[in-house]
């Protein structure tokens, strides 16, 4: 009997050992994957039952806060600025999840980062919240001006500081009211979300960094960068023929200049006048695909920008131009798709860019060729105001060498001084720009009106780079971009330079 008792004891031990092993699996080894399962709303419920940190602009405007409610969920997320910051803050809904800063900085806002937790530990037993306040790089005055200047038109405004990648303003239309989507009343929130999802305007989509458009002539900055980097194009040579249109090899379809005007000359001249013929010739016969692809890549195309927001998309530039058919007189390979290459040189065909990307191109030019990582978080503060985290700025991609950047910068300054972007001239400031009018091939003609620019006090490094896009405006002349998008860019630059 003793032996049997011992055997029974061993069996019971084994059973409990199995329980212990299983507990370890569930509570330790699989814990993270269980916590992260989409149908596991535990972390969310906890977040809704305690105060959440505010989101404020760098000039102190509160754009998201939590209000106590006497309800099952004890806090309701509220956005005092309604739709103005929707595409940056995103929303924070119990049933619909979250987006934007609410999502990317959820740990900070809910006080779950190690540094915030440490602070909470020192104040144990206090009602004091560990929730952190996220301070944005965005400035309320610039953002407000952007909305005002856009005046309800469909489009986007992005303003960044070229020196560190801080996003100063980012607004796009149409937008939505995050208050409605974040409503703790699940049914009401769902109704709003369904309406927004069904809208053909796609208001939930941030056109500034989640959608792509033909960049049109603004892409000529990248084409010029490819030419300058290859060494085949300089400020003085070559001088492109003054023609009304250019027909690339292997096709009979010409690429026309705006209004069929004769256009040509050296780099600054063709840049100021935005000569389609010259840039198309440069790309197809002088450079070939490789330098073009390399320049686009260096500018950030085909890479998702590392911005601290949800679901940013990469701008795209084609990489495959078909087999080599022959060689141009300059010794450049002519590919089967060289006609397409010629069109991409002027920002048409398969090129597509987010407004954010085009702002970063201007920023790269203004910052000596270096594109800094774009970001919307400036710092995180604890409840007592102490800074617990700061965004560490750094280079995202090197667009061009400082030497090439200097040439491009002067080309853009020249465009404002005497080219298509004269509307951006500001006293006491160095402003460089490139206009764009991306024809959409519709009848009557419509186009995306673009303006990308940088600006800074005279003689000082540029402190703001902007991209303005106004979609599907009537008309398609070389003046469209400057005329339509120019005033918006001007207003935003003035606000960013503190001159409104």
């Amino acid at each position: 009997m003793n032996k049997r008792v011992r055997t029974l004891g061993v069996v019971i031990m084994c059973l409990y050992a199995a329980l212990f092993v299983k507990l370890n699996l569930v509570q330790v080894f699989q814990a993270e994957s269980l916590n992260d399962r989409p149908d596991n709303t535990r972390s969310l419920q906890r977040d809704f039952n305690r105060p959440r940190g505010d989101i404020v602009t760098s000039d102190g405007a509160v754009v998201a806060t939590s209000e106590a409610r006497r309800a099952a969920l004890r806090y309701q997320r509220v956005y005092p600025k309604a739709e103005l910051y929707a595409h940056t803050t995103g929303f924070f809904s119990f049933t619909l999840g979250s987006a934007g800063v609410e999502r990317t900085y959820n740990d900070e806002l809910s006080g779950r980062t190690p540094s915030l937790r440490l602070r909470e530990l020192t104040g144990l037993f206090q009602e004091d919240s560990s929730a952190g306040t996220v301070v944005l790089t965005l400035q309320d005055k610039v953002q407000s001006v952007a909305r005002q200047a856009l005046a309800g038109r469909t489009g986007s405004v992005v303003a960044v500081d070229p020196r560190d990648g801080s996003v100063l303003a980012m607004y796009s239309n149409p937008t939505y009211d995050p208050n409605a989507v974040s409503n703790n009343d699940a049914a009401a929130a769902r109704r709003t979300k369904d309406l927004l999802d069904a809208s053909p305007e796609k208001p939930l989509l941030a056109r500034s960094y989640q959608d792509r458009f033909f960049p049109g002539s603004t892409f000529k900055i990248v084409t010029a960068a490819a030419g300058l980097t290859s060494g085949k194009v300089t400020e003085t040579a070559p001088s492109y023929p003054v023609v009304t249109s250019y027909t690339p090899p292997l096709t009979t379809r010409p690429i026309r200049n705006f209004g069929n005007k004769p256009c040509g000359g050296t780099l600054f001249v063709i840049f100021d006048r935005s000569c389609n013929s010259s840039f198309a010739q440069m790309a197809s016969e002088q450079l070939g695909p490789e330098p073009m692809v390399a320049a686009a890549r260096s500018a950030g195309f085909d890479k998702v920008p590392p911005i601290d927001l949800t679901r940013p998309v990469a701008s795209t530039y084609p990489t495959d131009f078909g087999p080599v058919v022959r060689t141009s007189p300059d010794g450049v390979p002519i590919h089967a798709d060289t006609p397409r290459l010629a069109q991409t040189a002027i920002g048409q065909n398969d090129v597509a860019a987010t407004p954010l990307q085009m702002a970063l191109v201007a920023a790269g030019v203004a910052n000596g060729g270096s594109v800094m990582r774009p970001h919307v978080m400036a710092e995180v503060r604890a409840a007592d105001g102490a800074v617990v985290d700061k965004y560490a700025a750094g280079e995202w991609t090197r667009f061009v060498t400082p030497e090439v950047a200097d040439v491009l910068r002067r080309a853009m300054l020249s465009d404002v001084a005497q080219g298509t972007a004269t509307g951006l001239q500001l006293s006491g400031a160095d402003v460089g720009a490139k206009t764009g009018t991306a024809q959409l091939g519709t009848e009557p003609p419509t186009s995306h009106a673009w303006m990308v620019a940088f600006a800074g006090p005279t003689g000082q490094p540029a402190s703001v780079a902007v991209a303005v896009l106004i979609e599907r405006v009537p008309g398609a002349s070389d003046q469209t971009g400057g005329r339509v998008a120019g005033p918006v860019a001007r207003a935003v630059i003035q606000a960013a330079l503190g001159r409104s």
Partner: protein
């Protein structure tokens, strides 16, 4: 101090007094742990110490000291571990129930009083454990009647899909909780009578020497009984428990492994047949295999349990700081998941270890008792306790398909708590009885 004059006490008396002192010390320790947990639970929920923490501590100490004095009076030679371990589990369970539902906690407090009352009463009435052996058939009958009582029309109640409740007037209880103790007594008595016969292999079936089919009757009876429970009461956990109890006791009494094999085969066949025949059994199995096939329906409970355990991690969220209200039956069958969430792997392991220690103490008593009625009964009662805890924890952690039984002493539930205190009193009584005998040479 009486112990200051050792020449006046016998060595046995000295051991007894030391045991009782140990028990008191451990009880105070358990009381302090429970009081601390109670205060932490309140801090976690309201960020303030409970107003009644002093009262609570006094209440705990009052209860455990009463039980302790009863042991001192009626079973002075008893093992020192049983009562403190049960008190720890009971108290911990109470803290979690009060953290989840204050109304239920008030009732549970009442049941604890009744439980400890019956514990004392059992110790007082059952002075000689062998008296029970004399009434083995009576207990067998009582056990059988209690077991099938819920099936009687008029008093049986279907609650949550199981027909395991009986309501007579205002009182409703689960007779199955008491039936298992009565049946353990019956089995122990019956098997002591028949172990010679049952242990003799006279009949060959294939490679096995088995006892004559005539003596197999009781096995088949127990099997049939557990099938009845499984089929008509839809109580898979209790069916499993009864069957394990009987097979283990049969094997312990006779030493014939063929009973274990036969029992396993029979249970497997019964389980397989009921899996094929009953949709609720199929549901349990499919939910066990893949709860995420129906995450908001049939799999909801077990998924939420896994989420609770995972949320707790190694150290837990802290008592009162977990997210409750997600798991159906969190105060009864699933209380272990809440403990795992708020006390983490460490706390859950402590609970498991407490049950292991209880089982160890029970088996130690059985070993000392040897081949006697009380030894067999100790094995049966220990098996009941250890296996019941295993079945529910395995279900909650998805080690095995979920079969709803309570976690002894911890879960909310009057019948379960009171019955387990009676069970504990019997173990305490046996431990006190065997100790009074002259020590025997220990051999395999």
């Amino acid at each position: 101090m009486r112990t200051a004059t050792p020449e006046l006490v016998t060595p046995a008396e000295f051991v007894r007094r030391r045991r009782r002192t140990t028990e008191l010390g451990l009880l105070v320790l358990a009381g302090l742990i429970i009081g601390g947990a109670y205060a932490l639970a309140s801090l976690g929920r309201n960020s303030s110490l409970p107003a009644d923490v002093g009262l609570f501590l006094m209440g705990i100490f009052g209860l455990v000291v009463a039980a302790h004095l009863a042991v001192r009076r009626f079973a002075p030679a008893a093992d020192a571990l049983f009562l403190p371990l049960a008190a720890l589990l009971n108290g911990l369970g109470y803290v979690f129930i009060s953290r989840l539902d204050t109304d239920l906690a008030a009732k549970q407090l009442g049941w604890t009083l009744v439980g400890i009352g019956l514990f004392v009463l059992t110790l007082a009435v059952v002075r000689d454990i062998r008296v029970l052996q004399r009434y083995r058939y009576t207990f067998g009958l009582i056990g059988f009647v209690l077991l099938v009582l819920p099936l009687v029309p008029g008093i049986g109640r279907n609650i949550n899909g199981s027909r395991i409740w009986v309501a007579i007037g205002p009182v409703s209880f689960q007779p199955g909780e008491f039936a298992k103790i009565a049946l353990a007594i019956f089995f122990a008595g019956y098997l002591m009578d028949r172990r010679e016969l049952l242990g003799t292999a006279t009949f060959r079936v294939g490679p096995f020497n088995v006892p004559h089919p005539r003596y197999f009757g009781p096995v088949l009876l127990a099997w049939g009984l557990s099938l009845v429970v499984m089929i008509f009461q839809k109580d898979l956990g209790s069916a499993l428990l009864f069957f394990v109890l009987f097979v283990v006791m049969l094997w312990a009494a006779t030493g014939r492994a063929s009973y274990l094999v036969a029992g396993g085969v029979l249970f497997g066949a019964g389980a397989f047949a009921s899996w094929g025949a009953f949709s609720h059994v199929q549901t349990r199995v499919s939910v066990w295999l893949d709860p995420w096939a129906d995450p908001s329906g049939k799999g909801y409970q077990i998924i939420q349990s896994a989420y609770a355990l995972a949320w707790g991690g190694t150290t837990g969220t802290g008592i009162g700081l977990g997210i409750s209200g997600r798991i159906p039956y969190q105060e009864t069958d699933f209380i272990f998941a809440i403990i795992g969430e708020e006390l983490g792997l460490l706390g859950a392991t402590v609970v498991l270890c407490t049950f292991l220690l209880l089982a160890g103490s029970g088996l130690r008593v059985a070993r000392v008792a040897g081949e006697t009625f009380e030894g067999l009964l100790a094995i049966g009662l220990t098996t009941l306790l250890a296996v019941q805890a295993f079945i529910i924890v395995a279900g909650v952690t998805r080690l095995l398909p979920l079969t709803g039984v309570t976690l002894p002493f911890v879960s909310y539930g009057g019948s379960s708590l009171v019955a387990n205190y009676v069970l504990l009193a019997l173990l305490v009584r046996i431990s006190a009885t065997v100790d009074q005998r002259p020590p025997r040479p220990v051999s395999g």
